[in-house]
């Protein structure tokens, strides 16, 4: 997390240099980074839930889902999280929040429609394992910080792109030789920042998935439930997830795809936030 804050501060600093704000840019960037971190600690879950258009459901709307979540919370000995449904056809789920007392579990409409009770228990068990292990705090803060890095660099790229085509207005500070080099460094940095952000994210993501699979199975005492759910999710990998984006990819039960029929190529596998489903199923079946 400290890494993500530093990264954000550095991006802000470079941006400051480029827009000729001087050392004050660093101060501003650090202040913004601190506010971002505190903000994502307190409100990150709401930001993440809103970004996928999740809406909270009561026990009357989704009795089965609520019963499953409550049952597994009892098994885990934690308070019952709030329950959200995301209007997406692709079956998927995630958990967010800062600690077990302030946690939420969100599942897609597609998941509710395709999974039977035992499979739903497997999925919710996996998400509750993330809650109990406090992976959700790290995941949620990373989602908002990485989101900010991606947003800033995209904003910059666009300003630069359109500024470049339209010709630079007046003789601003970017014209000179030294500023030109600085500009190149800044450009490189902003290209690399999103990649660095995903590397930080990957470091925490993949192994935690295996762990949550195992702990979820320990809660349900029935590994085939989650294995079967994962197989169904793989079978529907072609269904796109419209609200998916790079910042929240690591939160989901399985990595969401944005494009119809998209499958991961070898290069994407290197940068995947989740281990391959076949491997997860194999480990569950060995339990």
């Amino acid at each position: 997390m400290a890494g993500a804050v530093l990264l954000l501060a550095a991006v802000g600093y470079v941006l400051g240099l480029l827009f000729a704000a001087g050392p004050a840019g660093l101060v501003i960037a650090v202040v913004i980074a601190i506010f971002m971190s505190v903000g994502s600690y307190l409100y990150g879950d709401r930001v993440v839930l809103a970004s996928v258009r999740a809406r909270e459901v009561g026990p009357q709307d989704q009795p089965r889902l609520h019963n499953v979540v409550e049952g597994l919370s009892i098994a885990a000995g934690t308070p019952k999280p709030r329950v959200y449904v995301i209007p997406e056809r692709a079956p998927n789920a995630f958990a967010t929040g800062r600690d077990p007392e302030h946690s939420s579990v969100a599942v897609t409409q597609g998941l509710l429609e395709t999974m039977n009770r035992v499979e739903l228990e497997g999925v919710v068990g996996h998400e509750l394992a993330h809650v109990v292990d406090r992976d959700i705090l790290l995941g949620t803060i990373l989602a908002t910080l990485v989101g900010a890095v991606v947003l800033i660099s995209e904003f910059f790229m666009r300003t630069w792109w359109w500024g470049g085509i339209g010709g630079r207005r007046g003789g601003d500070s970017r014209g000179g030789g030294a500023d030109g080099i600085l500009f190149m460094i800044g450009f490189l940095f902003l290209v690399l920042a999103p990649i660095a952000a995903s590397v930080i994210r990957l470091a925490v993501s993949r192994q935690r998935e295996y762990l949550a699979d195992a702990q979820g199975a320990l809660l349900t005492r029935y590994p085939p439930g989650l294995a079967s759910a994962l197989r169904k999710i793989e079978a529907s990998a072609g269904i796109p997830m419209h609200s998916a984006n790079n910042a929240t990819a690591h939160l989901w039960l399985n990595q969401p795809s944005r494009i119809e029929g998209e499958r991961l190529g070898p290069f994407e596998k290197l940068f995947a936030t989740h281990p391959p489903i076949a491997e997860r199923v194999r480990r569950l079946e060995e339990m």
């Binding site: 049952g71 009892i74 000995g77």
Partner: protein, 186 residues
């Protein structure tokens, strides 16, 4: 102060710290066991509340299964009156068996199976059954951890001194994954 005194003092401090840590662990496990028991109780009560509704809604469609209704109602009354853990376990097992039978009978009444009221009740009951199972799982896990700590050395010395007692496991038939389970598909 001579060196040996420092060593003795250090060992004493370590012992006290370890003692406090063990005592707090015993207390926290005992609370978790109590909490687990309360949770089972909540869910069992929920089941007692649901049974009369279930019997009523099935009666409307299958009046001649009277004997079965009486069985369920009687098992419920017994479970409510049970005073010891083994008694309760036995009564709960009977309820679980009778309910399974009831749901098996319902299979013969397509109208009833399509009734929205009944479906909602069935979901509530299936949910409650699995919550009982999960509450029992949590309770038994905590009882095992508490009993292990009470039996192990050196925590057994502290447990004896402060009157921490071993607890009984709650062994009830597992409703969700038994052979003729309540229908949980779909």
């Amino acid at each position: 102060m001579p060196a040996w005194l420092w060593i003795v003092l250090g060992v004493l401090v370590l012992l006290v710290v370890a003692g406090i840590w063990t005592f707090n662990r015993l207390v926290s496990l005992r609370n978790r066991v109590d909490n687990g028991w309360a949770q089972i109780d909540v869910q069992l009560r929920r089941r007692y509340d649901l049974i009369p509704n279930l019997v009523e809604s099935v009666k409307g469609y299958a009046a001649h299964e009277r004997e079965l209704f009486e069985h369920v109602t009687e098992a419920r009354a017994r479970a409510i009156d049970a005073s010891s853990v083994p008694d309760q376990v036995q009564a709960e097992n009977r309820i679980t068996r009778d309910l399974r039978q009831l749901f098996a009978v319902v299979e013969n009444y397509p109208d009833l199976k399509a009734n929205e009221n009944f479906l909602a009740l069935q979901e509530e009951l299936t949910g409650t059954e699995s919550k009982i199972a999960y509450a029992r799982q949590f309770y038994n896990d905590q009882v095992m951890r508490l009993n292990t700590l009470i039996q192990s050395f050196p925590s057994n010395v502290l447990a004896d001194a402060f009157g921490f007692d071993e607890r009984e496991f709650f062994d009830i038939e597992d409703p969700a994954r038994g052979p003729a389970a309540v229908d949980f598909a779909g």
